[in-house]
C-alpha cells in the first residue's frame, strides 16, 4: 500500500504545483456559475427547485468537460514519463507497475475530485443561498458531484490505457481526443441516427438500454437526469429513465465497472511494455 500512497501524494502535489487544480476548479466554477444563474431564470414561473435546474445544466456541462479534463490529465501518465526518462528510474525502485498505475490513479482522481467538489460545491451553495428553496434537491446534487468524480475516474482510467498502449506522447494525445469525441459526441449521435433510421423495427427497448450502458457518459446521464421526478421532468428524459428501469445502485455499479475494466487493462498493457 505504501508505494501507492507515496506516488498518489506526489501526483496530487504536482497537480497543485502546476496549477491543474486551481485552473480546473476555476474553470468548472465559472462555467457552472454562469449556467446556474443564466439557466435558473425560468424557475420563478415554473415553480421548480433552483438546485434541480442547476443539476440538469451542470450534468450537461460535466459530460462535456470532465472527460476532457480527465483525459488531458492522464494520457501522458505512462508514455510521457517513459519519453522524459523518469519512468526507468521510478521502476528501478521497489515499486510494482500496478502500484504505479494505482498510485497515479488515486492522485489524479484526488486532483479531479478537489476541482469538482470545490467548483460545483461553490455553485450549489450560491444557488441555495440566493434561491433559498427546498433542501430536497441536495441529495441529488451531492450524488451529481460524486458521480461527476466517478465519470472523471472512468476517463482517467481510459487515458492510462491509451498511455500504456501508445508508443509516443503525440499519438497518445490524438487517441485521447478521439476517445473523447467518440464517447461524448459521436456515440450518442450515431445512436440517435440509428434509432431514427430503424423506426423501432429491430432495436428493442432492451437493446437500447444495453447500448446506453456501453457509454459511460450515458450512464452518468441516466443517473443524474433521472435522479428525482423533479429533475427528470426538467431534463425531458422522464420517459427514458422510466423505461430503462435501472436502479441508481446498478448504474453506479456500471460506472465503477467502467473504471475498473480500463484500469486493469492499462495495468496489463503497462506490464508488457518495455521501460
Amino acid at each position: 500500500m505504501r508505494p501507492i500512497a507515496i506516488i498518489a501524494g506526489k501526483e496530487l502535489r504536482d497537480g497543485f504545483r502546476n496549477r491543474w487544480v486551481v485552473a480546473t476548479t476555476a474553470l468548472l466554477a465559472a462555467l457552472a456559475l454562469t449556467l446556474a444563474f443564466l439557466g435558473s431564470a425560468p424557475t420563478g414561473s415554473v415553480k421548480v427547485s433552483a438546485l434541480g435546474v442547476t443539476i440538469v445544466s451542470l450534468s450537461s456541462l460535466t459530460i462535456f468537460l470532465v472527460p476532457l479534463i480527465a483525459l488531458l490529465l492522464s494520457y501522458d501518465a505512462i508514455v510521457g514519463e517513459a519519453e522524459r526518462g523518469t519512468l526507468a528510474l521510478l521502476l528501478a525502485y521497489p515499486v510494482a507497475r500496478w502500484q504505479v498505475v494505482l498510485g497515479k490513479f488515486a492522485g489524479h482522481l484526488a486532483v479531479l475530485g478537489c476541482a469538482t467538489a470545490i467548483g460545483y460545491g461553490v455553485v450549489g451553495g450560491a444557488v441555495q443561498w440566493t434561491g433559498g428553496d427546498d433542501g430536497g434537491a441536495w441529495a441529488a446534487f451531492v450524488m451529481m458531484i460524486v458521480t461527476s468524480i466517478l465519470l472523471g475516474g472512468v476517463f482517467v482510467a481510459i487515458g492510462y490505457l491509451v498511455s500504456a498502449l501508445v508508443g509516443d506522447r503525440g499519438a497518445a494525445g490524438g487517441v485521447a481526443i478521439g476517445v473523447w469525441l467518440v464517447f461524448v459526441l459521436i456515440y450518442d449521435m450515431a445512436l440517435l441516427g440509428a434509432l431514427v433510421a430503424d423506426q423501432g423495427r429491430t432495436i428493442s427497448a432492451g437493446a437500447l438500454n444495453v447500448l446506453l450502458l456501453l457509454n459511460p457518459t450515458d450512464v452518468y446521464r441516466l443517473i443524474n437526469l433521472t435522479s428525482s421526478p423533479n429533475v427528470s421532468a426538467l431534463a425531458g428524459v422522464a420517459g427514458l429513465g422510466a423505461s430503462a428501469g435501472f436502479s441508481p445502485t446498478l448504474l453506479v455499479a456500471v460506472l465503477a465497472a467502467w473504471i475498473l475494466a480500463p484500469l486493469v487493462a492499462a495495468t496489463a498493457a503497462f506490464a508488457r511494455r518495455s521501460a
Binding site: 505504501r2 508505494p3 507515496i6 506526489k10 502535489r13 504536482d14 504545483r17 502546476n18 522524459r84 526518462g85 523518469t86 526507468a88 528510474l89 521510478l90 521502476l91 528501478a92 525502485y93 521497489p94 515499486v95 510494482a96 507497475r97 502500484q99 506490464a271 518495455s274 521501460a275
Partner: protein, 301 residues
C-alpha cells in the same frame, strides 16, 4: 555464487527485432568496481536495464543479489540497488529535497538522512529550489544522491560523470571508494575510457552487443600489445642515434629537437638510462584505454 553480486550467463536481449545484446557472460563480485566500456549503442545501458529487471532477457539467465530481477517486479532486492540512468531525468516541478524525499520513501529509507546526502553531493544550498531550474551538473548530482540512498549493495551508474565539473568528479570518485570499502559492488558505464583509468578494478569492453574483452587495465595492455612510447627533447641527436651499434631501436625525430621511441614495458628503464644527461621534457606515454579500445575494435572486426 559466493561473493557474486551479479551473474549473467549467455544473455541475449532484443528490442523488437533489433538485437541489443547477444550471448553476454558477466560476473560482478562484492567490493568490486567494474567499468563497462563501449560506444553509444554497444549495449551498456541495455545490460544495466537487464540487471535492474526493466528488461527481460530473450535468452540466458540474469541473477542479481541471488535472485532473478524480473521475478515479482517489486522484488525486495531493489532496496539494495542504486541506479543512476544515463542523462538522468527527474521531476521538474519538485524541489531537490522533495525529489530525494520521494525516492527515499519509495525505498523505505528515513527522510531525515537526506539533508546530509544533499550536503555530500554539494546541493545543500539548492535543496529548496525546483529541479526544473537546475543545471545539468546539478541534476546529475541529485541523480547520484538518489542512487546512493540507503547504502546500496549494488550501484549501477550509467555514464555517471557526464556534466560534472572536475572538482565534483573527484569528489564523486571519493564517494565511490568509500562505498567500495563497505563492500558495495559498483558498475560504471562510460564511453570516455581515459576517465575510468585509476578508478576501476577491471573493465569489460563491449561492441555491438558483444563482450570483446575483459580484464584489469594492465592486463588489457599486455593483450593488446600496444607498446609504451618514450619522448624526449634533445639539443642534438642522442648517442644511440649517433653511435650505431646500439641495441635500442632507432629514435624517430618529431621536429623541434624532439624524439620518440617505442619499447617493451620491461625495457623502459634501459631506454631511459640510455638517454643523455641533457635530455629534457622526458615523457613516458603508455597506451591509453582509447588506444587499447581501438586495438581491440580492430581485432574484433
Amino acid at each position: 555464487m559466493s561473493g557474486a553480486t551479479v551473474v549473467m550467463r549467455g544473455v541475449t536481449a532484443r528490442y523488437g527485432r533489433h538485437v541489443a545484446i547477444s550471448d553476454l557472460d558477466l560476473e560482478l563480485r562484492a567490493g568490486e568496481c567494474v567499468g563497462l566500456v563501449g560506444h553509444n549503442g554497444a549495449g551498456k545501458s541495455t545490460a544495466i536495464k537487464l540487471m535492474l529487471g526493466l528488461l527481460s532477457p530473450a535468452a540466458g539467465q540474469v541473477a542479481v543479489l541471488g535472485a532473478t530481477p524480473t521475478a515479482g517486479r517489486s522484488a525486495q532486492g531493489r532496496r539494495q540497488v542504486g541506479y543512476l540512468p544515463e542523462n538522468v531525468a527527474l521531476y521538474p516541478s519538485l524541489t531537490g529535497a522533495e525529489t530525494l524525499g520521494f525516492f527515499a520513501r519509495l525505498k523505505g529509507q528515513p527522510v531525515a538522512a537526506n539533508s546530509a546526502l544533499l550536503e555530500r553531493v554539494g546541493l545543500a544550498a539548492a535543496a529548496r529550489r525546483r529541479v526544473g531550474g537546475y543545471s545539468k551538473g546539478m541534476r546529475q548530482r541529485l541523480g547520484l544522491a538518489q542512487a546512493l540512498l540507503g547504502q546500496p549493495r549494488l550501484l549501477l551508474l550509467d555514464e555517471p560523470t557526464t556534466g560534472l565539473d572536475p572538482e565534483v568528479r573527484q569528489h564523486f570518485y571519493e564517494i565511490l571508494r568509500n562505498l567500495r570499502r563497505d563492500g558495495a559492488t559498483i558498475l560504471l558505464s562510460s564511453h570516455a575510457l581515459a576517465e575510468l583509468e585509476g578508478q576501476v578494478d577491471r573493465v569489460i569492453v563491449m561492441n555491438r552487443g558483444r563482450k570483446i574483452v575483459e580484464g584489469a587495465i594492465a592486463e588489457l595492455r599486455g593483450l593488446a600489445a600496444v607498446k609504451p612510447r618514450i619522448r624526449a627533447r634533445l639539443a642534438h641527436p642522442p648517442a644511440a642515434v649517433v653511435a650505431p651499434p646500439d641495441p635500442r631501436p632507432e629514435w624517430k625525430p618529431l621536429g623541434d629537437g624532439r624524439f620518440e621511441t617505442t619499447c617493451e614495458e620491461s625495457e623502459v628503464a634501459v631506454a631511459l638510462r640510455d638517454l643523455p644527461a641533457f635530455a629534457d621534457q622526458v615523457e613516458i606515454l603508455r597506451p591509453s584505454l582509447d588506444e587499447l579500445y581501438a586495438a581491440f575494435q580492430a581485432g574484433a572486426s
